[in-house]
């Protein structure tokens, strides 16, 4: 135990004396969450729209007013004809146009039905989708208000769109679980694999192997500092997410932290595995970045929904540990799920961990044999 303590102290010296390590460990998580939270967000505010109101009656004006009053939209122009709309789209002045048919109010009162056309610039499909959803919500609210005022019940259509778990479609809600995953993966897997291969590169690994230190003690001492720091990182992200962006933890915090710990161990074992296969820091870094970070970002469901991927990629996504952890974190944080809903994913992560540790031990033995 004493041997281990001295070793761990030494690891902390390595970490705290290298400003690059510190930057990656603590600068990056904070920078990323700020970036994702404030700048890179798929939530849309003040999108420019135009209205082509053929009716120009009291009701249509009221609707337009309501739409442009919402924080999602800014009314760019009141159009006079379809040609103007085309030009506005082509010059990329607007993202969406709303066309109100002639006799809007009249039709509504007489036939209980009126038509509105929502035209979106679908060169950015996600934005277009989101915008049209926003518009529909505003229109539905408008209908409901109308129905309340008109006791006779002017309109029967009452479709309800519920944005579950993220009522305001806040992007940061999804980014926090994703970010925790990415950062834990990066810090745990990449940093440990680099720190272990560094010992090989420097020649100190041989000295350690010749010493009475057992290989498992060696590995343990190498990973414990990163285990602690990664855990600290997870806490920082959760706290930032909560206080700066208001992302709640609806489920059990202890369960969330325990699952994070498990994922950290999964990532650490992956890092150890990488370091048993490579001898240089450069290679370890490249393998971690290309082999781990890229698939983790692309295939974990963090940025691109897994359901929308082609089947082969969907299948591949199953072997990305991050995918399962993101499911767990989303469930616990946003839905408040308890353990019985995430035990399967937990088991899968445990499986991965066992596999990587097993492979590492095997590799380690082969090296020595």
């Amino acid at each position: 135990m004493k041997k281990l303590k001295g070793f761990i102290v030494k690891e902390f010296f390595h970490i705290f004396r290298d400003y690059r390590t510190i930057l990656i460990l603590f600068g990056m998580p904070i920078m990323q969450i700020m970036l994702f939270g404030f700048a890179i967000t798929n939530e849309i505010k003040n999108a420019k729209i135009a209205v082509l109101d053929h009716s120009k009656d009291e009701l249509s004006r009221k609707l337009v007013e309501q739409i442009s009053a919402s924080e999602y939209f800014t009314l760019y122009a009141n159009l006079q004809n379809v040609e103007e709309m085309k030009t506005a789209f082509e010059e990329a002045k607007i993202k969406q146009a709303i066309i109100i048919e002639k006799g809007f109010a009249e039709n509504l009162y007489k036939t209980n039905q009126a038509n509105i056309q929502i035209i979106s610039d679908a060169t950015e499909p996600n934005t277009a989708n989101t915008l049209s959803n926003y518009t529909q919500v505003v229109i539905r609210n408008f209908q409901q208000d109308l129905n309340k005022q008109q006791q006779s019940g002017v309109m029967q259509i009452e479709a309800e769109v519920q944005m579950r778990y993220n009522e305001k479609l806040k992007g940061v809600f999804l980014f926090v679980p994703g970010l925790i995953t990415i950062i834990l993966m990066l810090v745990s897997a990449m940093m440990t694999s680099i720190s272990i291969t560094k010992e090989k590169e420097m020649g100190t690994m041989e000295i350690l192997l010749v010493s009475p230190l057992k290989p498992f003690q060696l590995i343990l001492a190498k990973v414990i500092p990163y285990l602690l720091l990664s855990f600290l990182n997870a806490c920082i992200i959760l706290i930032l997410g909560n206080y700066v962006f208001g992302v709640p933890v609806k489920g059990n915090l202890i369960l969330l932290l325990a699952e994070s710990m498990l994922f950290i161990i999964t990532a650490l074992s992956l890092g150890i595995f990488i370091s048993t296969r490579t001898d240089s820091q450069q290679v370890a870094l490249m393998v971690s970045l290309m082999g781990l970070m890229l698939p983790t970002i692309m295939l974990s469901g963090f940025i691109f929904p897994i359901e929308n991927m082609p089947l082969p990629l969907q299948v591949i996504s199953n072997i990305i540990p991050a995918k399962w952890f993101i499911i767990i974190v989303k469930s616990i944080m946003l839905k408040g799920s308890s353990f019985i809903y995430v035990w399967k994913e937990t088991l899968i992560l445990l499986g991965f961990t066992t596999l990587f540790i097993g492979l590492s031990v095997k590799n380690f033995k082969i090296r020595l044999a």
Partner: protein, 247 residues
Amino acid sequence: MNNSENRPAVKVNKLTRQFGDFYAVKEITFEVNKGEIFGFLGANGAGKSTAMRMLTGLLAPSSGEATVAGYDVYKEAEKIKKNIGYMSQRFSLYEDLTVLENIKFYGGIYGLSNQQIKQKSEELVEKLNLHEVSKSLLSGLPLGWKQKLAFSVALLHDPEIIFLDEPTGGVDPVTRRQFWKLIYEASDSGITVFVTTHYMDEAEYCNRISMMVAGEIAALGSPNELKKQYGVDSMDEVFVKIARPSN
């Protein structure tokens, strides 16, 4: 057996290491006496390092027998590790730790008590005259100092045998000479020194040497014996005579 004064420090019998069809080390047999400076010479790839790696427990032998400090390399690797020191050609301390931190770390992994570590640190700093730099990072020290420190650190736990794998690689002759002074001091205090090198001038410093060619021991004896045997004046010529036939 292990306390016996007459037991050789290293005893090797037909030790072999194969990589597939290739024999890196083929049936080498030799003994190293206590307190001796035993040189392992040969060209790069002759099998010196492989042999040393087997004796230090870094590599398992394919066949043959070997005991180090009286312990069997197959069954008692853990005990061997406690009784040997090791320094490799790649200088082996941590650049981003201070002199004292390095000493403390190595003392720690060899299980020395805090008291022992403190005492050893003071002795070492005194002996190597490192007072002024004991708290500076190693990266700022000249290579020669670092190597001397690495050697002393490898002796921190009072091992019976120290293995030096090309310890003076890439060092100027003056520093090399100073380094050998340290080796003699260690040898005088009864520590067995097992050293690999491809510098022939260093061979002269050894009590006995074994020349390896293509995985086998081609010659073994004291420098003077070998020179006499081959009728030449320097180890360089001995080496040339031995190595030529295999080319």
